[in-house]
Symmetry: C2
Subunit: 334 residues, 2 copies
């Protein structure tokens, strides 16, 4: 079951029984717009503040994924969930009403990878018949948390990314569905000294490179083993850094690499600079697009590896670096 230094190959690969994506208007206008389950025209999602708005989309995505899996919430044994906000308040207030035992997780924008890893471990081991993994972000709650008040209208450099408003939720179980999680690779913290919060892609690329290399070493495969190797939110600047770092290791990823942050917005029309980011970016792209590609037979096997930048407004203001982490999930067609 243990595979190499940091990976697990599951004996009873958990199946993906339902997945739901709830996003904001801007995400709905992007290239994947038609594939999301719910696109809201109201950035507040009917709530009084940005944090409550994010909570609202977590709750909505969680319930919709359970419904799409044809289950009742009482059948879900554990939630594995997180968000980008201090003390995970989007998760706490969004999932409370479900009354399901909860493991709160923080892996910055890698959280969907962390959640799917632990959720898969639980199902494979027989700890649960059904579990749910989810992660969210909201443009406005994230800007308020990490950068400037929206009303300040600051200019953003071209290396900056745009935090996705959305939540992706996946229900896993022992059998059923058309895709399954056959293995995972768990990331460690990697710090190459980047300090620019407007260039998160560069900060996260070393962790993505480390995770992808570790996955290939642990499972003894080459990039061609996967139809796609998918990072979360490196964006265009981070993608170049990733490809360069891997090239230095003798690995050419150009044919396989895809980044959710690059896919989710249209760079010509949507003015999002380097792409999308946030926990929600990889989570909704997984639920709306990646799983659809696998289930339709276009892709047979992918490595889904969301990346996170481990920073806070406090650590940033204290002059700390922005280390990264990534968590890899191998998803295959049944």
């Amino acid at each position: 079951m243990m595979q190499g230094k940091a990976s697990i190959k599951f004996e009873n690969p958990p199946h993906i029984l339902g997945a739901a994506s709830v996003v904001g208007e801007k995400e709905g206008q992007g290239p994947l717009g038609q594939q999301f389950d719910v696109v809201s025209q109201d950035p507040m999602f009917g709530q009084d503040n940005w944090e409550a708005a994010e909570s609202s989309i977590q709750g909505q995505a969680a319930e919709l994924a359970i419904q799409k899996a044809a289950l009742q919430k009482e059948q879900i044994r554990y939630l594995f969930a997180g968000d980008l906000l201090g003390q995970l308040i989007a998760t706490s207030f969004g999932l409370m009403k479900l009354e399901i035992p909860l493991f709160g997780l923080f892996g910055a924008c890698s959280t969907m990878g962390e959640a799917l890893s632990l959720a898969s471990m639980a199902v494979n081991a027989g700890y649960a018949d059904y579990v749910e993994a989810l992660a969210s972000s909201h443009f406005a709650s994230a800007e308020k948390q990490f950068r400037f008040p929206l009303a300040y209208g600051n200019q953003r450099p071209y290396s900056a990314t745009w935090t996705v408003t959305g939540c992706g939720a996946v229900v896993l179980g022992k059998e059923g569905g058309q895709s399954r999680i056959t293995g995972i690779t768990t990331g460690k913290i990697v710090d190459l000294g980047v300090r620019d919060s407007m260039n998160m892609g560069a900060a996260m690329a070393p962790a993505a490179a480390d995770l992808i290399m570790q996955n290939m070493i642990d499972f003894n495969v080459t990039p061609e083993h996967y139809d796609k190797i998918i990072t979360g939110d490196l964006g265009t600047v981070g993608q170049q850094a990733l490809l360069t770092l891997l090239k230095e290791e003798g690995v050419n990823l150009e044919g396989q690499h895809m980044d959710c942050g690059i896919e989710i917005f249209d760079p010509e029309k949507q003015d999002t600079h380097a792409g999308g980011s946030g926990c929600g970016c990889s989570a909704v792209t997984l639920c709306a697009h990646i799983l659809q590609q696998i289930e339709s037979g276009n892709w047979r096997r992918v490595l889904f590896a969301p990346t996170g930048a481990l920073t806070s407004q406090v650590s940033y203001n204290e002059g700390q670096n922005i280390p990264g982490i990534a968590h890899g999930i191998v998803i295959e067609r049944v």
Copy 2:
């Protein structure tokens, strides 16, 4: 293996191979002072700021527990770790140098329970030979994060608790040691409407009551099954609330209940009002005191159930309630 709604009974109970506690001066002067591994006289732990100080104690406790387990850090397959700060920066910067795959966790002050739960699940399932679970808090980084600047010197009501400066770390493995984790009960979010951030004990008591009831239902036991039922940081006010809530359910816990927050400080001499709190409170009390009581044979079986208050400065300022969560661990003498 699954037991009732929210519990697991392990087939291969993970053994506790090493535990370490690193605390500050005030904790060293308290009733448990002689039992901690490291007591520092420097609240900054040689660092430049409070967050770096907390990172420093995480790193120190992590390494000391590995050393006490007679292992090398390369043998630890996964870290399960968290803290109270936004985006877990004490964890990120404290554990980076270990270069061990990391699952970042947030359960507020229940984090040590959450970490031990997931760590035990990993070892029992055969995903790892050795794992480490840890959690920290620091009085000054927590006050800065949640309340007032220290220099403001605000008065604290008697229901307030004092955040413990400390980190507790536990290394788990398949065999060895004198205590082991035989089961877990995973908590859900419970909100009875408390909004007073100076009375966290009352906010967390409903979650503690819910968890303890669920544990007894799932394992079909009464309080006497345990030599002690130990909450994390309810303090004296929260303890009364817990005992009252359980009495309403027909359960008398008075003979069994112990709270780490009540044990760690001397209410007469240390001016900490309702007691100690923070992730570090239950973590260091476990590592320094509870495990020692089990290993010396004074206690044969305990339910260790740290409790967390799911709040942030943002949710508090927005007028949200303070929901709670608890995670229970059954620890038995080998």
